[in-house]
Symmetry: C2
Subunit: 164 residues, 2 copies
DNA sequence: CGGATTTAGTTTAGGCGTAAATTATCGAAG
DNA sequence: CTTCGATAATTTACGCCTAAACTAAATCCG
């Protein structure tokens, strides 16, 4: 309880630097994610996936198809169906059949959804800014660039016939 | 399907840099985590939490209590109970009552567990090294340092009476 | 000693994640 | 126009995660 022991303790002294970086990346993400989730729950009685879903719609006032949402949220389709059902019940979104394709539906933010999201987004930004305040602007920029490089590589490896 | 659209698309052009960094951090972590999970499943028919559990034990040949494992894995106690049950059934770990405290149990790697883990760890390291190959050694070091700073701050904020 | 509190671990209910099977529709090719 | 493969979405089964309620043992303290 006293020492901050965590997943990084998986390390052995001679582990490769890449493994160390990875575990630290994982720790940081978990820490931030857990805190954001707790606040969304306490302050808004919602969850991260629901917040994420709404924020995707906010970005696209013309609406999105389920498939587009699942790609943007980086989750499989089943989740999107379930979350959409909840948000629909809560009246935060609307759903309509896509013109010209009866298989697809177009999901949009409702007026209530837009209002609810605006408030959450404001608070969310404050939380994130506070959590990243440890880093100076230049450091955040640096981190942003390093992660961009990593991400580009990861996405490239994905496309490349999934080299083993 | 063509453009790599993902959670970062949650962004609005004028979002704060911190939010951008956070979403990119999340993307990267998810990408790596998903790939590692897929390989653990395909090659070893296991999962990330089980792998993590074993690796904690590897680090501590004298054994760990359930509570210690849950702290190190950064998950709540209930999970540890369940995963320990599985690993016990699979014969990869052993459990004994803690000397001097009949509430606690000491979990250790079995010989089979040690063998199984060694093989997985070897492969795991290869995967991670390949995934982080986009970054030069100096860049990995830089990333490691930036994340250290962030992590320190996050853990400090946690201890500090959880400021809202 | 004996009751109150704390701690170790388990259990339960419920959310989110996946993969795989299923249904409905689309679009193309015979 | 009909059949066949691809695509949109849903459903199912199952794993991990949390929070909260619970049991049992340890510890604190009057």
């Amino acid at each position: 309880m006293l020492d901050p022991v965590d997943v990084e303790s998986r390390l052995t002294h001679d582990d490769h630097l890449s493994v160390r970086v990875w575990l630290r990346l994982l720790s940081c993400t978990n820490l931030v994610e857990t805190r954001v989730a707790a606040r969304l729950r306490d302050d808004f009685e919602t969850t991260l996936p629901r917040f994420d879903f709404l924020s995707q719609l906010e970005r696209h006032p013309a609406g999105l198809r389920m498939t587009e949402i699942s790609k943007r949220m980086m989750v499989t389709g089943g989740n999107v169906t379930r979350i959409a059902d909840q948000l629909l019940t809560e009246g935060l979104i609307t759903r309509s059949v896509a013109p010209g394709d009866r298989r697809a539906s177009i999901v949009k933010l409702s007026a209530a959804g837009r209002r609810a999201f605006a408030e959450m987004a404001r608070r969310h930004e404050d939380w994130i800014v506070a959590m990243f305040a440890a880093l100076a602007e230049a450091e955040r920029t640096q981190l942003y660039a390093l992660l961009a490089k990593l991400k580009r590589h990861l996405n490239a490896a994905e496309s490349d016939g999934k080299n083993r």
